[in-house]
Subunit: 391 residues, 2 copies
Amino acid sequence: MKIEAVDLFYLSMPKVLDIGDGSQDALLVRIRAGDYEGWGECEASPLTSIASFVAPMSHSACKPVKYSVEGKNINDIADIYNISKLVYENSFDLLQADHMLSGIDIALWDLLGKIKQATVYSLLGYKKAYPKLPYASQLFGNTPEETFLKAKKSFDMGFKAVKFGWGPFGKGTLEEDVAQLRAAREGLGKDIHLMIDAGTVWIDNNTDASKRLNALKEINAYCLEEPFINGELAAYKQLSTASPLCPLAAGEGCHNYAQAAAMIEYAGLRFIQIDTGRIGGITAAKRVADLAKAKGVTFINHTFTSHLALSASLQPYAGIKDDLICEYPVESQQLALDITKEKILPDSNGMIHVPDLPGLGMTVDTEKLRPYLVDVEINVNGNNIYKTTAL
Amino acid sequence: MKIEAVDLFYLSMPKVLDIGDGSQDALLVRIRAGDYEGWGECEASPLTSIASFVAPMSHSACKPVKYSVEGKNINDIADIYNISKLVYENSFDLLQADHMLSGIDIALWDLLGKIKQATVYSLLGYKKAYPKLPYASQLFGNTPEETFLKAKKSFDMGFKAVKFGWGPFGKGTLEEDVAQLRAAREGLGKDIHLMIDAGTVWIDNNTDASKRLNALKEINAYCLEEPFINGELAAYKQLSTASPLCPLAAGEGCHNYAQAAAMIEYAGLRFIQIDTGRIGGITAAKRVADLAKAKGVTFINHTFTSHLALSASLQPYAGIKDDLICEYPVESQQLALDITKEKILPDSNGMIHVPDLPGLGMTVDTEKLRPYLVDVEINVNGNNIYKTTAL
């Protein structure tokens, strides 16, 4: 079977706010072959990723992403690996290509699952998908009082694990951060896992990060996520052995396997967090999950958007029983909720389950998405090289 | 003084060929403030970088690059650092932003140099710019015979150092590669430094790379460049200690300081090669040069395009006397040659000199460039968000 069409759909809320909420827009990828179609989603800046898909060639290693996808075979897993390999070879000087590839690779796994009537995790070699413990992932409130109320709400909803991140954290004084951390713990009570996401706020500054370690210990933080920017290996390593110890989590910014491998190998992480929508898709994420397992580092998905992205991000480690925790978006915009007809909801034990249906097991609700569709037109020297397809 | 205008110019040869020659198109950046203007150039996929400059915001950490540049102050070095910092903060989920920032940062240094009537290298803190030994950087011929003739030509032109890379190298049999290597050495004679660029062809496969070590020793290779893809730290480290030893060079793919720091720290490199047009501009490149010096690793520019890019890429290590070698494009397309009125040419001793004029010391030849200008128009929901400015 050949790939007959690759269509990109840029969706957006009517108004995008200047807040750390990545669910305000989305780039969906639909790939069609024969009677089948697969869907994928990639992270951030839809217009830039669309440009990477259609941009005129700059040279042999800077071709548009579409060059390595359109018209290619899709009959077996080897075909998906081949397309990844082609994108890396043909577009490796095109920085944005890794994000674009992510959505394409996810759509290809969904498509192949539908062709073979198999779940993606089984195609990846897992005999079984284990339940995951979702943590409610959300932004810090603007004040400790707001954070307290958000924490209380998550507790009341029955979440066993909660993450707070971004917002004002790390941007004001140490005392303000301590107040935020205490408010989160107070709202949750002592038995809930509490994870803290610094959103790279300290860049590479170990002194600023280290000052928070006492408070993180006081609130019994499960982990500290992204104190530094992605790839600052030495800063991570140093903080990982600082006192009092706090387990570190990072990796969402990795846009290829080699970067994640370096974080696992050199950064002293306890948790590697992979965004399937950024790292090059399910193919690259599965390689990272395998490496993490071999190295004793726990794999966690990074997902802050739709349930399509959530299903995609769970597949790469669905079969690893001990990697129990998963990021679970609880503050998504309506757009993200409207993307799929099905939702992945916690069961009565508070656990979530990877869909046991072909592909990613999700149906994209094209009708509901139409009002969100952003019309893009790109002309180069008077020739139209991209125009949004009808949804 | 405030930044009043940032204009992007996508230039291209009439026909872009499917060869490893990055000089077939270019993205120039012009920044104006008061009566002054500065110029920069960034690597690869102009359309994608333009999209990153104007794309609608996705969330607080995925804003278009222009958000952090337009209207900002430009009076002093601190203003340039501030703009870099803002781009990292405001666009860190926008992968392509690092390439776009590179051209902007270069233009800002050129602009500030013109405002202060100072060379960029002096603004960077260097008292003096030392002459550099240029190596003629070119592609392998399609056959050993072609490579031999190219090598002979470089010798006749008086180059003391030559690099061959890409083309068929690493893509065929070991014997074919050995024949290419011998042809290059035979064409140059025994006294010329000969560098070999594998163009990441072995991805992370040490076995394939190691098989070439004997031949590299036989031809007395000065270094082996990019056997693996950027960031494959473990593969590099392993090859760096394999027998027979061959000094390794890499780093051109780094798109931020942290990645280059990791390559210096963990990859066992003898040479770190930085493309100022990719790593985030002169600001990031200078940080890498400082680190390389401290760690005993030799800094080399990566430049395969214009003399504007060449001047920009020399500034960050102009004042480091011992880092003698520099990459020098000798096969550029006419477009790349037409970008600047001035050229940086070898003197009678075969050495080149960083221009001793304000900024980058180059004049962009706007008139000559007009025929190359690519007209780009991007419309989002019926609104024009980008249209090429007249040159």
